[in-house]
Symmetry: C2
Subunit: 415 residues, 2 copies
């Protein structure tokens, strides 16, 4: 415990300093860090080379090797990410609201850093710089636990971030790495309520589940997206085809990609052949129920499991429904609380879908792919929250803060 305890204590020390840091001080450190990443990229590439070699040695699959790899372009991307965060508005210090009470007390809410944020993630070294940048700009100390296979890369990156902080006269412990491959340590990290205010897991469903189940520190769940597009009876079918094509194929391995098509039976015969033809351009496999198969010959049979599957692949499930009630019930049963869309020309159905679908982002006549910090207009994001507490949907800088009540009095006592 001693090693983790020391990390916790140092994070707390940094926290009290970071809480009152000016925006320009933070931006200077972020720019300095970006500079070091590029200037010292050979160190990073060398460290990453060690990780890559070890990973290849133990037969890591190509997809994971891709995520682990650093190259000049990726390092430039990390640096640009830090510069982008430096350019973003500082959320800290904003007074969200303030009202005068009848007794003269002026009661307001002010945005302040969360404190110490823990990030648990997979072997993707670029997350190291991204997570630091966002947490730091929001005034938080951050403790990182990255995937073991990226340990050398992460150590090299964190060393440069700390060097930048030190150069700017700021506490290096604003960012710390748990430099260990011991799983027991991670388990204990998840119970450090005394030192860590929130844990944010970033990665696949398995990682997220293990953090939710193993943690006593509050967790913000980010993650999986089994996103649906419902094509209503009144839909503009051409629009529906283009939105579906975009949401399914524009980028395949992301959480806001469409995984399931729900279609009103009245338009199934007309729509499914159109959709199948367009999706065939990207060789998307369709798996549907009997009605869908009857409407379009290329559709394969779907199993119950398909309705709940986030494929992250060129596969789409197709469910036909008799009315919007069935569509809403189906989606609320199988969705993962991420992004859901209706394509319709019917005012009442649009409003019902917006009201009744339980998800972080509910769309009318647009692609689910827009659920993204940048697309929503608040810059880089630390993840997409699919749970309901604190933050729901894309989490930007604001979601890495909390608020405290500030009260100005002149001697008030309670009667």
């Amino acid at each position: 415990m001693e090693y983790l305890e020391q990390i916790g204590i140092r994070a707390k020390e940094a926290e009290s300093r970071l809480r009152i840091l000016g925006t320009e001080e933070k931006n200077r450190a972020l720019r300095k860090a970006a500079e070091y990443l590029v200037k010292e990229q050979n160190r990073l590439l060398a460290a990453n080379g060690k990780d890559m070699e070890a990973a290849r040695g133990k037969g890591m699959p190509q997809g994971l090797l891709d995520r682990l790899a650093l190259n000049e372009e990726r390092i430039r991307g990390m640096a640009e990410g830090l510069l982008e965060v430096a350019g973003a508005d500082d959320p800290v210090g904003e007074v969200i609201q303030m009202k005068k009470r009848p007794n003269g007390l002026l009661i307001g809410q002010k945005r302040v850093p969360l404190g110490v944020v823990g990030i648990i993630y997979e072997a993707r070294p670029n997350v190291t710089a991204d997570a630091f940048g966002l947490c730091f700009k929001a005034g938080n100390a951050v403790i990182l636990k990255g995937g073991s296979d990226a340990l050398s890369s992460n150590e090299a990156i964190v060393a440069l971030l700390q060097k930048a902080l030190a150069d700017c006269g700021l506490p290096e412990t604003a960012v710390q790495l748990i430099a260990s491959t011991d799983r027991q340590l991670t388990a204990r990290f998840m119970k450090m309520n005394r030192y860590v205010d929130v844990l944010i897991p970033r990665g696949g469903a398995g990682l997220i589940r293990s953090v939710v189940e193993g943690s006593t520190v509050p967790v913000i769940e980010t993650g999986t997206g089994n996103c649906h597009i419902y094509v209503d009876a009144s839909a503009d079918l051409d629009m529906a085809v283009e939105i579906l094509f975009n949401a399914k194929t524009q980028r395949i391995g992301v959480c806001n990609a469409c995984e399931s098509l729900v279609v009103h039976e009245a338009v199934a015969d007309a729509f499914l052949p159109m959709a199948a033809a367009r999706l065939a351009e990207k060789k998307v496999e369709l798996r549907g129920d009997a009605e869908a198969m009857a409407a379009e010959g290329s559709i394969l049979p779907a199993s119950e499991e398909d309705w709940g599957t986030e494929y992250l692949d060129y596969i789409l499930s197709v469910k036909t429904v008799r009315n919007i009630d069935e569509a809403i019930a189906h989606i609320n049963c199988y969705n993962t609380g991420h992004s859901e869309a209706i394509i319709t020309r019917d005012y009442a159905n649009a409003q019902r879908f917006l009201d009744e679908i339980d998800a972080a982002a509910v769309y009318v006549n647009a692609s689910t792919r827009f659920t993204d910090g940048g697309e929503f207009g608040f810059g880089a994001e630390i993840g997409i929250s699919t749970q309901k507490l604190h933050a729901r949907g894309p989490m930007g800088l604001k979601e890495l803060t909390t608020a405290k009540y500030i009260i100005y009095g002149n001697g008030q006592v309670r009667r």
Copy 2:
């Protein structure tokens, strides 16, 4: 697991109905429930009589018996609580913000119910009606697990609440009670992530700790308050005495009562005798450091433990400091994130205290006793959150909701 699973499934069924309930429908059910509580109070008193008899039989201490007891006045209080909630603004449906993006998408955030709320509390039957009222008005289904010693009372109360719901054509399972004294069941309840969106423990430090440690469902920690008042060198000492007296003695067993006085050494000699004389009216015992004892003869020696103790009693710890830095460091070390106050005439020190103290509510020149939903102007509260995620400070109806993004498009796809 079957029993809990059924409760979970029924809560989820109620949830989808409650999500779209109109304000007037909710208010009607709340008023009907208030009516039944009063009209059928004999049933409640009889059920409570059974609990009281059993509790006396096993030697429950008087303080706990007091909390367990129902009488006509308390039942009227419960009914009035429900009527008050019926009269409060409905938080659901408010669109918090909406902006048009350059691509024409209209992206907004709409306040919606959390879903299913679990409340774990002690043997205080009045919490049963209060918690239902707040959760229900915010559109949530609620699952209650009250202290075993109040089981008969809680069953009787929940039966009346369900009767009121049924009378209004609403799902009775909007409120359910885990009618068991099996601790294993409570442990499993805390891991029902599939059915429960948030757990709110209400009670003493032990209960809250056990929920935080045992739960995989997100928890909102409410609770303990080791609240400080710092009397600065420039303080109006008369004002400081009155605020301290109010915060310490106006009500003794509450979480926003003052437990510790921090005083600048420059005014210790003048202030401590004044404070001691006023607090003597209520026989408050003072425990201080050596400097405090030198300034006021009646002060007893404090131990290290005193700095971290929430007495909930006529006891106050007294710490002297050399400057505001020491005051802030001491308070940030020992406070529980609840309510902290500075008494000062110094502008810079007031601002520094507001900026640097890490707590849910930070006061200048006012009593910590104001940290309360009613005093803050948002009506009844479900508790005071001392953690930083989702809600911090008094939690009213708004804090029992979440927001979802709603997006109006006209065919947008992502490039």
